[in-house]
Amino acid sequence: MRMSDSSLRLVWVYPDLLSTYGDQGNALVVERRARQRGLDVMRIDVRSDQPVPTSGDIYLIGGGEDRPQRLAAERLRRDGGLSRAASNGAIIFSVCAGYQILGHEFINDLGEREPGLGLIDVVSTRGEGERCVGDVLADIDPQLGLPQLTGFENHQGITHLGPTARPFARTVLGRGNGTGDGTEGAYNDTVFGTYMHGPVMARNPQIADLLLKLALDVNALPPTDDRWYEALRAERIAAATQPA
């Protein structure tokens, strides 16, 4: 077991800057599903004037508006804690603006190229066309063994994958990374990025379980009663695929 002591340290990075579209729901889902498996969870919310602890097991980062995104990138670079945690093998899951920050660079609110943390081999630019808004359906990388991804996207950014990043999913519906190559999100080893809000884990609790399995270094977890998640998934997938 990779976990420190007997409690899972779940770190929610910069809720003061990066917490739009209910992304803190991801932290709630991971916490709930860990507790349902009898794990002790220590949830650590790190505001942007506090150092990011390096000893977390799972780190979550949400989406944000353009200016807070730049401030968050500046502070994360200066702090260095998240990068150190990543090099120690921590599991990191990021959404939208947070995903862009974990790449090599993105376009900030001033229209300039802002360096990210380079934890995922991606580069983000700003799309010229219409904002990507709406329901997304995508097939997750078979290596990860997860069911179809359902989520809600709302972003202007376009993310290009470098040679070492693997696409997190291939879109069936929606724009995903916005590059036109049908990819959605990306990951390098245990660092994940996606454009999916919703929050994504409310519709895809198996992503939360994947992070838990990686943190615990196990292949399976005790089952949970997922009927409401399943009902919601079925409803949203049907709504996305039916003509309006």
Partner: protein, 412 residues
């Protein structure tokens, strides 16, 4: 002060008449009150009509994410102590609806106008208000509205050129930042339970410090202004230090805050707090909100909550457990088509209540409650939910179109 001595121009008169005719046609066709369509017709004929209708009035504008309809109603009641009032009491709060409401009040002295947040700067330019009340600003309908901070920015720009007296909530950093561009501000410590939209300084992006009821930015010095009116429990303290009791039929802390702000507005027009607050007691329900209806033999109180801050204030006013609670959520156009805001609401505050879930998006809500570790039951209709609820008065909390659906069903 202002009377109706200046007549409307012939063009404005024609516009008002045409607007009223359009509203009558719309009403006859069964499309609601017709106020919005009437206003649209009138504005098309005379784009300056809003300003012309308002120049005969002492205008008060009221804007906020939450509480603007109720506060508009409270201010209107208070100002009736001094003269006739015209108001968009039913919440038609965009320029067409406002025009329509003003066109119906040719004998009024005061215009008390609720304005949608996105239109405040424009309406403030058109109607030259005497006073502007700003209650709070928080996230709402995220997938289509501008970002909260950009709204604050628009308010700030709009208020910079206004001569109006601005009555603003000192406890909401976004409101303070928006209002402090105005030279004439009366600060009201009206409180704010919701804090999640103001951890980042609106002025410099620094991290806000929030010890107790105070707040300040550690980086640029932007801080809570000293209030001249203060809501303190069940009393409002005026600038002279006198405490006036707030007695309302409307429930909850948020409505006491609305009353405190309304008293400060009324004082700007010479209505003393005692008189203003006594008149506010008359307000019972506002467009169906807070109404207790009898449905299928049960008493059901109807509560509207449109966004995370609104849900939080509503949780603090409902009767304690084991009072049953029905929750209804839709995600149609007027609600915002994305339900992710559910995750910004702390539903664990409902622990101990029997909970029943209805509405178009009851499954989103079910997952949210499951993750909060609450017991709940998903129902197909308000009928089923009411019939399943254990004895006692039922609290029903719904977002915008869900609330309208429920009102139609229970005949309110």
């Amino acid at each position: 002060m202002s009377g109706n001595s200046e007549p409307l121009t012939p063009r404005a008169k024609l516009a008002v008449t045409a607007g009223k005719a359009a509203a009558a046609v719309s009403r006859a066709a069964g499309r609601g009150s017709g106020s919005v369509i009437g206003g649209r017709v009138a504005l098309k004929l005379d784009p300056d009509l809003l300003g012309r209708l308002a120049q005969h009035l002492d205008v008060v504008l009221v804007s906020a994410t939450n509480g603007k309809t109720t506060t508009t109603r409270l201010i209107a009641e208070a100002l009736r102590a001094s003269g006739p009032v015209v108001s968009n009491a039913l919440g038609a709060n965009m320029p067409a609806g406002i025009t329509s409401a003003l066109a119906g009040g040719s004998d009024a002295r005061f215009g008390v106008i609720e304005v949608d947040e996105k239109y405040l700067a424009g309406v403030a330019r058109d109607v030259t208000p005497k006073a502007i009340a700003l209650l709070n600003l928080s996230r709402d309908q995220l997938d289509r509205a501008a970002e909260t901070r950009m709204l604050a920015e628009k308010w700030r720009e709009g208020l910079a050129g206004s001569k109006a007296m601005v009555i603003a909530n000192a406890d909401d950093p976004l409101v303070v930042w928006a209002a402090s561009s105005s030279p004439n501000v009366v600060w009201v410590a009206a409180g704010q339970e919701w804090k999640d939209d103001a951890w980042s300084c609106p002025s410099c992006g620094g991290v806000m410090q929030r010890p107790g009821d105070d707040w300040f930015c550690g980086e640029c010095g932007f801080r809570r202004p000293a209030p001249s009116w203060v809501l303190s429990g069940d009393h409002v303290i005026d600038p002279h230090g006198s405490a006036w009791p707030i007695h309302l039929q409307l429930p909850g802390r948020a409505n006491k805050a609305n009353a405190a702000t309304s008293a400060a507005v009324a004082a700007c027009f010479g209505v003393p707090p005692q008189v203003a607050l006594e008149r506010m007691y008359q307000v019972q329900a506002v467009a169906g909100r807070y109404d207790v209806v009898s449905f299928l033999g049960r008493d059901v109180r109807l509560l509207l909550a449109k966004n995370p801050a609104g849900w939080l204030e509503t949780f603090s006013l409902i009767d304690p457990p084991p009072t049953p609670v029905i929750l209804s959520v839709n995600a149609r156009g007027a609600d915002g088509t994305d339900t992710s805001w559910l995750w910004d609401v702390d539903y664990t505050r409902l622990a101990g209540h029997p909970i029943f879930v209805i509405g178009d998006r009851r499954l989103d809500l079910a997952v949210r409650l499951e993750v909060a570790g609450l017991d709940f039951r998903v129902c197909e209709s308000v009928d089923e939910a009411v019939q399943s609820a254990p004895p006692g008065r039922i609290e029903l909390i719904a977002n915008y179109t869900a609330f309208q659906d429920v009102r139609r069903r229970v005949g309110n």
